[in-house]
């Protein structure tokens, strides 16, 4: 019986985003079944059904850039200050995107599904560190990631890599084949006759390898997966033409488009395989082969195991996930099931240190609350080193304890826990709360400290900062 209690707690706190009151009790009947029931073909929940699309957001940003030119002609007025206008835009829209996603995290009854989804969004990182991407990150997650998290990996891969957000983030949209018609036009002066203005022409002049490299290194094979610099360059050549509609493309503004005149002509050879002459089809074919590559299964399953179970995951666990991946042709629902059924994933010791986002979400869940707006999220996440939507690089947020458990990070968590506890505890009984929220994972030492606290708020702060709550 005690084992079942522990498993119920593990199901909710390790696989999920932390227990809401009563949630561990709900999982107690069948902890594995509780998790398996959260896997579904339709994919993840949507924080904002019916929200603006990426295309609409990109078009909006281009309009702002146009207005900025006009504003330069009438400087001095507050309204016209282009940076203030941009900050208003980014503040409200990005703030809503992030807050609704955080609210989903705090309220969902299927938090394993949501943790699984956050893993994939991080794996295919698009970061708001680039100004023009900030308002597109939310729609990107909703459109490219969430629908595919329990589908085939290849479908998720294609959706993520060909989404305008990714094409802009990793500079693919402006990549042009050196031998393409477009470059030839530029060189011959015919481009100007075709109506391409000089600055636009100057920007679209050559090959950019950024996306190709990151697909190979971070999203599929992994840095040791067996590709060469030449593979990166050939892949980049194949992807030329993949772009995003600009102002001149009128109603295609912000939409993914294929500029065949920018595409590098010819057959391509990537990882020893020849891809015949083709347009967009070359990219699709290469992505399909990358998805099916054994290094991809190994690399990605290792990341899944690391995220859910331990900084250094047991080889047997990775092998189980790989087996599920390979035997199902990359069916992520099968991989998720294998994770839930893996004995290695149920070890009692809390081994994973929560990231700042995970920590804050689990704190709200513990009191059955929701974050009111961005102001209760962003400043704290910034202080803890996890600025909303803004991983510092395409590698995404790190997944190891050492990255987050810095002295400054721990002090920031402590300061926040204190003020959060003051506001959130109300009349609740902290001892009862700790039992409900940690279940069998609550240690005697923490329970004693909570019981001896001077105030309810102090008790809750102790629970939030306890070793077992800081981990999962």
């Amino acid at each position: 019986m005690a084992e079942r209690d522990l498993e119920a707690a593990i199901a909710v706190t390790r696989f999920g985003l932390g227990a809401r009151p009563g949630e561990i009790a709900m999982a107690r009947g069948d902890p594995r079944g509780f998790l398996l029931a959260q896997i579904r073909r339709e994919g993840a929940d949507q924080p904002q059904p019916g929200a603006a699309t990426a295309q609409q957001r990109i078009a909006e940003f281009r309009d702002y850039q146009k207005d900025r030119q006009a504003a330069k002609a009438a400087p001095g007025s507050e309204e016209a200050d282009p940076v203030k206008a941009a900050q208003r835009l980014l503040r409200t829209e990005t703030a809503v995107d992030f807050t609704t996603r955080a609210r989903l995290g705090t309220t969902t009854t299927t938090s394993f599904r949501e943790r699984w989804t956050l893993f994939w969004a991080n794996h295919f990182t698009v970061s708001a560190t680039k100004l023009q991407i900030a308002t597109v990150v939310g729609p990107y997650e909703q459109e490219a990631i969430r629908p595919h998290v329990f589908g085939r990996f290849e479908d998720l891969l294609v959706a993520a890599e060909t989404h305008p957000a990714m094409l802009l983030y990793l500079d693919q949209a402006q990549s042009v084949g050196p031998d393409s018609q477009l470059v030839a036009l530029m060189k011959s002066g015919a481009g100007r006759r075709q109506g391409l203005k000089a600055p636009q022409a100057a920007r679209l002049t050559g090959l950019n390898e950024n996306l190709a490299r990151e697909i190979l290194e971070l999203h599929t094979l992994g840095v040791d997966g067996g590709y060469s610099q030449e593979d990166v360059t050939e892949f980049a050549r194949a992807m030329t033409g993949l772009s995003v509609g600009g102002l001149r493309d009128r109603d295609q503004l912000g939409a993914p488009i294929f500029r065949s005149i920018a595409h590098e002509p010819g057959a391509r050879t990537v990882l020893g395989k020849r891809y015949p002459v083709g347009g967009q089809g070359q990219t699709a074919a290469i992505l399909a082969d990358l998805a099916a590559h054994p290094s991809t299964a190994r690399f990605v399953c290792t990341k899944i195991a690391r995220h859910f179970v331990a900084d250094t995951p047991p080889a047997s666990l990775v092998a189980r996930l790989e087996q599920a991946w390979t035997s199902s042709g990359g069916d992520l629902a099968r991989v998720a099931e294998a994770l839930v059924r893996a004995p290695e994933a149920w070890s009692p010791e809390p081994a994973k240190f929560k990231t700042p986002y995970e920590f804050m979400i689990s704190a709200w869940r513990s009191v059955g609350g929701v974050p009111r707006d961005i102001s209760v999220l962003a400043p704290t996440l910034n202080a803890m080193g996890q600025k909303p939507f803004s991983p510092p690089s395409p590698k995404g947020w790190p997944d190891e304890t050492a990255a987050w458990a810095s002295p400054a990070g721990v002090v920031a968590r402590m300061a926040w826990s204190q003020s959060f506890a003051d506001r959130a505890i109300g009349d609740r009984d902290p001892v009862q709360l700790a039992n409900e929220v940690l279940g069998a994972r609550l240690t005697p030492r923490t329970a004693t400290a909570i019981a001896r606290a001077e105030s309810r708020a102090e008790a809750l702060a102790l629970m939030l900062m306890s070793p077992e709550f800081q981990r999962r």
């Binding site: 200050d81 282009p82 940076v83 203030k84 900050q87 500079d171 402006q174 990549s175 042009v176 050196p178 100057a202 920007r203 679209l204 002049t205 050559g206 090959l207 950019n208 390898e209 950024n210 490299r213 290194e217 840095v223 610099q229 240190f353 910034n382 202080a383 803890m384 080193g385 510092p392 690089s393 590698k395 790190p398 304890t401 050492a402 990255a403 987050w404 458990a405 810095s406 002295p407 400054a408 990070g409 721990v410 002090v411 920031a412 402590m414 300061a415 826990s417 204190q418 030492r445 923490t446 400290a449 606290a453 001077e454 102090e458 702060a461 102790l462 900062m465 306890s466 070793p467 800081q470």
Partner: protein
């Protein structure tokens, strides 16, 4: 710059936090006395050919095309300095700085993450060490006496991660002096090998930060980080530079305070200039320049006992790419700055930019292994023994010679 906070001020703050005195470092004399080392990692692959443009090299303009810099600050017949670095230029001209124009780690994968790992771990290859070379330096020095180290930023960088304890500080935060929670948590964490030490160090650093900041009279130190004060894009950039300068000044304040860190590690982001690089790079470099100016002014007389090493994980392609930027390359430049440096010319050699001289036909070739420069600094500035440098601080590096005579 006002006087650094006194030991009495720091102890008063500590008492308010319920800290016992033993948590704060004692004067770290013995081994390295007042000498200081600061590492600045520019993340993203800083373009050495823009940092220290070889304007006198006959192939420079041809290779670089539109990215060639025409208004470089002059250094010598071959090299100039990016025009966004006037303060660093002044240091170099005063004999308080030297450039290293063609240096690289041993890693050739051109991957940020591998290369930063190798740069910060000090290993010969990726995954070669799970701790940072600066952390292992602390262990080597600990035989001679206690040395305090500090990383700046909310997460702990690999360069200072490892068994030797180091503190971290993130600008812009304070904790209430009368809180009980810190003491209660110290109890709760007594058996936790991660949270216990992290909390203890974090609290000790906060104490120093509060004392150091209350000792600084400049009101801009108290401006909330990240608030926008107007002035358009230029205003934002100026603000960024002001923030960098004030960060340098505050860090200097910590390092001068009794018991303060003598070794500090910072990083700067935003150097991965794949597209339209000229403006972006000028902006990031202006931030570096302001940071250095803030450090130099803030350190006052201690500047003469300080060495700063500015480095990056790799350089960039010699030729521009198709989008007004450059792609991942191999060798880049490093900078050595500090009041106690021995005067000298460039460190390492200049392989030139002829096609045959380029690495794999595309990148500046390295003339010096990064570990050789770092060994030279650690040996001359901190007195780390050669035996330690060749085996524990930089594993399997006996064949890499330390650059001699730097300080």
């Amino acid at each position: 710059m006002t006087t650094p906070p006194s030991r009495r001020q720091i102890l008063a703050q500590a008492a308010g936090l319920g800290l016992s005195v033993s948590l704060l470092a004692h004067q770290a004399q013995a081994a390295i006395q007042g000498r200081k080392l600061i590492t600045v990692v520019c993340r993203g692959g800083l373009d050495g050919l823009s940092l220290t443009p070889p304007v006198g090299d006959p192939d420079y303009r041809r290779l670089r095309g539109a990215l060639a810099i025409s208004d470089a600050l002059s250094l010598d017949g071959t090299f100039g300095l990016n025009p966004a670095l006037p303060a660093i230029h002044a240091m170099i001209q005063a004999g308080q700085g030297r450039i290293v124009p063609a240096i690289a780690t041993p890693d050739r994968a051109r991957s940020h993450f591998e290369a930063q790992d190798v740069l910060e771990s000090g290993a010969a290859a990726v995954y070669g060490a799970s701790s940072g070379w600066l952390n292992r330096t602390l262990t080597a020095l600990s035989r001679q006496g206690k040395v305090e180290a500090l990383s700046v930023g909310p997460t702990a960088p690999l360069i200072l991660r490892g068994p030797a304890a180091a503190s971290s500080w993130s600008p812009g935060r304070t904790i209430e002096a009368t809180a009980r929670l810190p003491t209660l948590l110290q109890d709760l964490y007594q058996d936790d090998p991660v949270l216990g030490p992290a909390l203890a160090r974090g609290l000790a650093t906060e104490t120093m930060a509060m004392a150091a900041m209350s000792g600084l009279s400049d009101p801009s130190q108290n401006a909330p980080m990240g608030s926008y004060a107007g002035g358009g894009v230029q205003g934002l950039q100026r603000q960024g530079q002001e923030a960098a300068r004030s960060l340098g000044g505050t860090l200097a304040g910590f390092m001068r305070a009794p018991g303060g860190p003598q070794i500090a590690a910072l990083s700067l982001d935003g150097f991965d200039t794949h597209a339209n690089q000229t403006g972006q790079l000028a902006n990031r470099l202006a931030g570096l320049d302001s940071l250095m100016e803030g450090l130099r002014t803030g350190l006052g007389p201690d500047w003469d006992q300080t060495v700063v090493v500015v480095m990056t994980e790799f350089g960039r392609t010699a030729r521009p790419n198709g989008t007004g930027g450059t792609d991942h390359g191999t060798a880049s430049s490093a900078l050595m700055l500090g009041g106690g440096l021995k005067r000298g010319g460039i460190i390492g050699d200049w392989p030139g930019l002829k096609d045959a001289a380029l690495f794999e036909g595309r990148d500046l070739a390295p003339s010096l292994d990064m570990r050789g420069l770092l060994k030279g600094v650690l040996s001359a500035q901190l007195g780390v023994e050669a035996r330690d440098l060749d085996t524990t601080v930089f594993p399997d590096s006996a064949s890499v010679r330390a650059v001699p005579g730097l300080v």
